[in-house]
Symmetry: C2
Subunit: 339 residues, 2 copies
DNA sequence: CTGAAAGCGCTTACAG
DNA sequence: CTGAAAGCGCTTACAG
């Protein structure tokens, strides 16, 4: 009685229509809450649809509406240290809208980037979010003339695009003010390469609060540099810092280790604060790090909602949107963990 | 002359047909290398297609063939520590086949898992790869009666499924034999919770080579445990180990740190080998860790090709496929880095 | 060797 | 209030 269309096992709208005793047009309208029909009809169709387990074929819908309910996340962050939180935020924001996310990790290879972008365009993605490892570098692929909306998150966007990034200045301010609030007066800043915009922004915030009695120590994003920097600070005569603001958690971890090796107590003698809230580093440090969280998940959430808005044709103001950071208090500073 | 179909900017097969002066059927057959026609016609159609930038709409193709050229990767590994390498392998293997990958990170939430699986099925994914954090736990979602093929990689599969995992026994053997080859005779094993199959397998390999003069130290996957274990071993009188095989890199890192704090030299006095080759830990340890790599990328590659084979209807032998591990030699053991 | 027609699963004017 | 028809972009028997 109803098995004339069991083609590949999937229940189609024809099955719903047959089972509800209406035409497929009516079935469609009932399910989409469009058209005009008796409430009883609409309800019956809906009930029947759930009963026989109807799920509309997204491919067919997409062919009509030119919307596929998929978006692509393009990144060159192989480790996923920054991209994974961003991805989590995107997914969280979009799963309720039925949108699934393609993840494409391109190394720094333009050809590979193009292959992935083309593969996504072939699938009619509704939009693309570009992400990366730093906010002052572009991905090795040009996304400026694509037939779908593009949003940038934690990577440099093209002029006129929508770009989301964390507020480095505000985050650094949070960290230094926290140290000052704990009574620290000689606060050092050990950080990454000066070529990073983030590094310069954080240093600028540090300077604006601490003044320039102490030099900013620029280096690499490595534990080795953290050790070296501590050796520098403690190897010269004169008063030592009682607070250290580090450019990332790896440096902070090394700083804490290096201080322990010199029998300097953290946090009693020196308070240390990190940046990134990279759990795996921050939580394993002894003592665990108080550090700045860039709220990358929130950033992903915003980027997801924005690309969705653009896909739906809603207007979005272009420009750089800066989201605030947050201080995560653990034990490396002492002080009241209840903020 | 050719702009009657500029609907949403996309070039369709109609445009190709018109531009080449053939019917759309012929155009389709020319582009797909099917049907019979003059070589000149076929070539002309192809040339015209590239010239006007034709890219077939994957949604339309999918509607016909019931293949979407997408697959889903489902995981509960939020950090991506295991899933990201697996994902990289999958992508590497499938991008040449035009397949894009949906990444769905479900926490350990069954409801969320179902939402993601349904979203993927709606999009007619050609298959699903399930991945996780350990090989003896299932994802919190039942994938056994899905209308698409499912392959498991680094997570427990259902009976009768295809499952890929690393060879823990062989990997551990590699590590211990390396220590023995360096002349180490009192080799300890500090590892994770005995409840993990991987832990038991690795311990079994260790036992089979070292015998049972020394106890296996089971603990947690943390640096804290590494420190504690060293304190145990060095805190009791009697001969000390000259080699330590650690259950993962975090423990190994802590062991190296703890030994340094006791002025035991690594690798001169004690050789330490880790497990996982988790770059961010292994490379930052002082000295960098010699460690076992589970080849998760290769695992992903195999899983990707297998799910593709199943999607294309090719027969695949069910069962557990074990892939060999590999030793990555750095400096924590001494010995010849040229293996 | 080539093309007209039917159809994949759905939606949306348009008639009744 | 409901349904027949056309169409999204493609492929694939089937005729010629």
């Amino acid at each position: 009685m109803e098995n004339q269309r069991i083609r590949n096992g999937r229940v189609t709208i024809h099955d719903v229509a047959a089972a509800a005793g209406v035409s497929i047009s009516t079935a469609s309208k009932a399910l989409n809450n469009t058209g005009r029909m008796g409430d009883d009809t609409r309800e019956r169709v809906k009930r029947v649809a759930t009963e026989i387990g109807f799920r509309p074929n997204a491919l067919a819908k997409g062919l009509l509406s030119n919307r596929s309910f998929t978006i692509g996340l393009l990144t060159n962050d192989t480790y996923g240290r920054f991209t994974l939180p961003v991805m989590a935020g995107i997914t969280e924001a979009l799963v309720d809208h039925g949108v699934s996310v393609f993840l494409c990790t391109i190394e720094d290879d333009p050809a590979l980037g193009k292959v992935h972008v083309d593969a996504m365009l072939d699938k009619s993605v509704d939009g693309i979010i570009a992400s990366g490892k730093r906010i002052d570098r572009r991905l090795p692929v040009d996304l400026s003339h694509l037939p779908v909306p593009v949003v940038y998150a934690f990577t440099e966007g093209t002029p006129g695009s929508v770009t989301f990034c964390a507020d480095d200045f505000q985050g650094a301010t949070l960290a230094v003010e926290w140290l000052m609030g704990l009574g620290r007066r000689r606060i050092a800043h050990i950080t990454g390469p000066e070529s990073f915009v983030s590094v310069r922004e954080r240093a600028r915030a540090y300077r604006s609060l601490v003044g320039d009695t102490l030099p900013v120590l620029y280096g690499t994003w490595s534990e080795a540099w953290g050790h070296e920097a501590v050796a520098k600070l403690w190897g010269t005569p004169g008063p030592k810092p009682d607070g250290i603001f580090c450019g990332n958690d790896q440096i902070a971890r090394a700083v804490v280790d290096a201080l322990r090796e010199r029998d300097v107590r953290v946090p009693q003698d020196v308070s240390v604060v990190g940046f990134d809230n990279w759990e795996i580093v921050a939580a394993q440090t002894r003592p665990p790090l108080t550090t700045v969280d860039m709220n990358l998940k929130a950033l992903g959430r915003e980027a997801g909602l924005t690309v969705l808005a653009l896909a739906e044709g809603r207007a979005v103001e272009p420009g750089i949107r800066t989201l605030p950071c947050e201080l995560v208090v653990r034990q490396s500073c002492g002080g009241n963990p209840d903020h």
